[in-house]
Structure formats: structure tokens, C-alpha cells
């Protein structure tokens, strides 16, 4: 045997975690979808031929935004708790994250109720209506999907099936939730600040 063997005995073979890679890939793909809706929104600012304008009907949803962005903090805290195996604290922070998410959704619902019934703005009314409900609605849909997944984890946690061994998976899921919050920062800026 003249070839000198390349020794690999000592070196560890470390590859990225497949869950994290997959979730990051999903986030990239979803970002592309959101980008297209944001581009449409921005392109059509000021181009409506009629109907209520953003300045006339949009109130800046400060409270809602604080709730949703805080939920990123609470879920981060939950991630830290499960790493150390403190399951009760984990469940508490996790539940609080969900509550904040639900408050956000309720707030969005109330906002839409006002826009539709008081201001007469629907997806059909004008370009602003079309792009507003599509973009905010797309985001809200992602919040709903996120809440579904969070509630599954909550149920498993309350029934005692979640342990510190699952902390990696929890972090992957939390990535999604952070993404949803990140998207809201963009949507909020574009719709309630730039567009008004």
C-alpha cells in the first residue's frame, strides 16, 4: 500500500443541523413571496383612482405591534428555559407568546372591522384596499399558522411530553415565529409609515 492514508480518526465531522437548514430555507422562500406583495404595495401607493386613502383611514397599530414584537422576546425566553430543562417556566413563557400572538390577531381583526364597516374599505374598493388586505392578510395568515404550531407544542408540553431533549426542535420552530415578527416590522414600515 503506497498511498499514505489520510487520517480522519481525530477530526470530528460536523454538519449543520438539518432542521435549522430547512427552516432557514423555508424562511428564504417565504421572504420571496412577501417581497412580491410588498413590491406590489409600494408600486401602487398613491395610484388608487378613488376611495379612502391610507391617510384617511389607517391608525398606526402601536399596541398590536408592541404585543407581536414582545412575543419574540417571550419565545426567546422560553427557548432559554427549555435549554436548562425548566419545563414549567418554558410552558409559561410559551403560553404568553401565544397570548400575545392572539392579541395581535384580535387587534388586526378589530382594525379590519372598522375599515370595512366604518370606512367602507374592502379588497374590492380600490388599489389601496386590494394591496392592503392582501399584504396584511398574508402576514396574518402566517401568524395563524404559527399559532397552530405553537398550540401543538403547548398541548404536548402541558401533557408532559416535552423535555430538554427537544430544545433544538423548539429553537427551529421559534425561528419561524421570529421570521413572522420580522416580516411584521417590514409590513408595518411599508404600510403604516411609508404609505400614509
Amino acid at each position: 500500500m503506497s498511498a499514505i492514508p489520510y487520517s480522519t480518526a481525530a477530526e470530528p465531522w460536523v454538519l449543520p443541523s438539518r432542521g435549522r437548514v430547512a427552516m432557514l430555507s423555508l424562511i428564504i422562500g417565504e421572504s420571496a413571496i412577501f417581497t412580491i406583495f410588498v413590491v406590489a404595495y409600494v408600486y401602487y401607493i398613491g395610484k388608487s383612482l378613488s376611495g379612502p386613502t391610507p391617510q384617511q383611514v389607517l391608525d398606526v397599530p402601536i399596541f398590536n405591534t408592541i404585543c407581536l414584537l414582545s412575543s419574540s422576546i417571550t419565545i426567546w425566553l422560553a427557548e432559554r428555559q427549555i435549554e436548562h430543562g425548566r419545563m414549567k417556566a418554558f410552558t409559561a413563557w410559551w403560553a404568553l407568546t401565544m397570548v400575545l400572538g392572539i392579541v395581535f390577531l384580535v387587534g388586526t381583526g378589530l382594525e379590519w372591522h372598522k375599515l370595512i364597516y366604518l370606512d367602507g374599505l374592502t379588497i374590492h374598493t380600490n388599489l389601496f384596499g386590494t394591496t392592503f388586505y392582501s399584504l396584511v392578510g398574508l402576514h396574518a395568515t402566517h401568524v395563524v399558522v404559527g399559532l397552530c404550531m405553537l398550540s401543538l407544542v403547548l398541548i404536548f408540553s402541558l401533557t408532559g411530553h416535552v423535555t430538554a431533549a427537544h430544545s433544538e426542535r423548539i429553537q427551529v420552530l421559534a425561528l419561524y415565529w421570529h421570521f413572522v415578527d420580522g416580516v411584521w416590522v417590514v409590513v408595518f414600515t411599508v404600510v403604516y409609515i411609508l404609505g400614509r
Partner: protein, 565 residues
Amino acid sequence: MADQSVPIGGALDLTPARPEERASVLEWLHGWVVTVDHKRLGMLYMIYAIVFILVGGAEAIAIRIQLAVPHNHFLSPELYNEMFTMHGTTMVFLVGMMYLFGFGNYMVPLMIGARDMAFPRLNAFSFWMSAFGGLLLYYSFIGGFGLYGMGAAPDVGWWAYAPLTARAFSPGHATDYWALALIVMGFGTLGSAINMIATALSLRCKGMTLMRMPLFVWLMLVVSALILVTITPLTAAQIMLTIDRYLGGHFFDTQAGGSATIWMHFFWIFGHPEVYVLVLPAFGIASEVIPVFSRKAIFGYPAMVAATVGIAFVSLGVWAHHMFTIGMTSVGNTFFVLSTMLVGIPTGIKIFNWIATVWGGKIRFKTPMLFALAFVFQFLIAGLTGIMLAVAPWDWQLHNSYFVIAHFHYILVGAIVFNLFAGIYYWYPKATGRMLSETLGKWHFWLFLIGFHVTFDTMHFVGFLGMPRSIYTYEPNRGWNDLNLIISLGGIIQGIAVLIFAWNLVQSYFRGKEAGNDPWDAWTLEWSVPSPPPAYNFATDPEVHSRRPLWDLKHPEDPDWKYEQ
């Protein structure tokens, strides 16, 4: 051997022999429906793609019969418009996207020494979503008013420009079938892409750094990353279209201030990278076949990787070269001329590297290599006609003419389908344990080559003579008659060749020569396992030290890892 420095799993098959129990037909079918095995799912993708290449091909033959003579009455205008829309949509989505995941799912785990894809259940879900989406698309023929009136199959062109797709101009369900079927397929595609990325990054066997992966795996990794930002804009645009059609939205409603051109931008932001998504796996196949049949390593592996990544990035910035005639500013047009010409550079680098691989080799002219060599030659021509189209003022003449159809079929058929055939002839023995017939393969190759050139070379000229695309008939006094007849005859020849191929696939399964592990004397990991591979792929996890682990094993005095850059 005890002192083997490069143990390759699979050479030791530790499974005890077991007599096969005959499964009932239902059990056998059930096995295929619930499978999460990447090899079975890969086969399902390939069978799906082959079935729909026959269907899409039949649609093409129908189109060519209608156009063989002017003022023909073989197809009504409505039916013709459905035929060309469905032909394009079928070939891009139900054949193109499916073949690439077929090859990818089957080969990537084997090539990286893994047991399966990163997420086997996601793999199954993605396949069945994509498959269902395609069937939904075809249901449109019998949906609506039923088979006699050819139902409500999409008839708005595969690009579905607004406002033709608005309810006002397309009141039936044709557009809805198009949008919804593709949204559903899009979810499947996204799932497969995520799976492929996670597999390539997280499941490589020991020693297989990124720069030691087979080029086919690299291409699949880059394609999957590209898919993440390519298919998703289409999904977004189709959601917007559906909102317009059903919720009264105004995204593309020019009467309400909406924009027809923004659909074009969104569609081509998808559409252009999409064609690179379709062709990159074909490059990957060529980069596996050409070295083996030239008996040399691929020339310039790092350059090939860099060129691939370069193509993926640049391809995201060229989309408006499909829109040179819509009235963009001269500055806008000029930008897209530059970006489009730039994408030709990494593409050219690949062609040169393939030629350099063949150079100095000892070429074996087996069927896979015949198709791969024809691919290089045809891809060169396609790239050059692409440069012609990139010259915007010339594009103002060539756009939407038969010259463009000739150009993109040179890629889709001349590059992609030729490599699809090369890949199947190359890897069929691995998947089935049987060789495809070389005799039938050569008949298939030569007939298809002749038919391809008769059709698509001629098509360039009828484009020069001013014939636009998407027309169900043409005037007899414009000098297009003879050329159209020739084009149609070439189509028939290609059809015969593909039927020979289909027959080869079927008869070789039962009567083909036994293949063994490594019929081609190749060098990547998939050739170290039995044909077909056992369910678990590798008995022990392989460990590699170079790009060609089997070369190292077969040439211990001259291993690759001594020379690789």
C-alpha cells in the same frame, strides 16, 4: 480488506439473503403509495415526467399537424390555444420540474453516502402535492363543459398575461385551473427544494466536504436554492391573480389603475430563473456522464462550481429581456441587455470545461455519451441565439416570433431533454439492475437527433421571415408554407424516436442484460452499491477523501486526493 484506507460501504453487504415473498397486487401498490424511500419517490417522479412528456409531446404533434399547411382545420382556434398553453405548462412544470426532482431524489443521497433524504416524509408529501397539482391541471379538460368541447383547459398562453386573464376577458375557469394547479404544485416544489438543501448540507458522509461533492449534487443544491426565490414569486402572482378574479381585487385591473406590466415583471422574475432551474440539473447530468465516458476527471471542478453559483445569481437579474418590446426606457432596456449578456459568460465557461474534459480523453460512444455530446453542441448554438436575442434592437424584431421558440426549444429539448435521456441511459442500470438496449438506444438517439434538427433548425428561419408565435394558422402568401411542413415532419420523427425510447424502457426492464454494481466503470459513490440498491443504500457509512472515491479505490497508486486543487 483490513488495511483499506478508504472503506466503501456497500462492498460489504451484511443483509442475510431472504427469499422474496410475493406481495399481492394491492400490497405492492400500497407500498408505492405510502413509500418514503427516496429511491421509490425518485422513480415516481421520473415515471410521472415520462408519462407527461408523452402527453406534452402529443400536444406538440397536434400543434404541428395544425400548422403543417396554412388555413388548416385540424384544430379549432379555441382548441389550438388550449394545446399550446397546455403544451408549455405541461413541459415546464409536469416534465421539467418533475424530472429534476426525480433524478435529484434518487441520486443525491446515494452520491453523498446517505441513507435517505433529510426529510423522507416531507419528500413523499412534496411528490404527491406536485402530482396532484398536475392532475388538477389536466382535469380542466373534462371540467367545465366536458370532453367534447375540450372543457376549460387553460388557453391563455403558459405566461398568462394580464389583462387577458381577467374575468372580463377569460370568463370561464381555464385561468383558474392554471393558477390553482400551479400553486398546488408550487408547494410540492418548495418542499422538495427545502429537502434537497437540507440533505446536501446536512447528510454528507464523512470526508465529503462541499468541494468533494459530485457536480450533480452541487447543481441540485444550487437549483434548490434558486427554486426558493424563483417559484415563490409565481405563487405570489398567481395568488394575486386569483384575488383579482374572485375577490374583486385590482392587482392587474387596468380599469382601476392596476398594471398589466407588473404581471409581466412578476411572471418573468419567476420565468427567467425558472429556465435555469430546468437546465442546471441537465448540466449536472452532463458533468457526471461526460467525465466517465471520456475516462477523465471533469476539467476545472472549482470553476464549474463557481460558474454554477454565478449563473444562479446573475439569472435573477435578467428577467426583463422578455419585455424589451413593452416600452421600458432606453436605460432600462440597456441594463437588461448587459445583465443578459453577462450570464453568457459563466455559461460559456461550462461549455469550455466540458470540451476540455473530452480533450485528451478516450471517448466511449455509448448512448449516454452520444446524448451528452449532442447536448454540448446544441447548447452552444442555443447560447449563441440567446446572445442574439439579448441584443435588444434585434429582439424588437425577433421577440414573439418563431426564432424565440426555436431558441428556447434548443435549450428545453436540445439541452434538457437530451440530458434527460443521457441520465436515464446512464442511471437506469443502477435503478433497475438491467442495462437498456444499446441498439435501441442508438436508434433512439439518431432518429431524435435528426428530428430535432429538422424541426428546430428550420424554425429559426421561419422566425426570420416574420412568423409570430401563438397563431393557430397563417396566411399562405408569406413564404412560410414549406418551412412549416418541414418543421412538422421533424416533429413526427422525434415522436417516433421517443416511442422507441419508451419501448426500450419497458422491454429492458424484463429482458435487459444484468448490470451489476458498476457497468460503466464509474467513480462516484452510487456505483459502489448493488443495482438496484438495497433499501438502506449503504451497509456502513462511507468515508471519502476525494471527489472520485471509486477512482481512489481502483487506482490506489494514483489517487485523486494527491492532485485535486
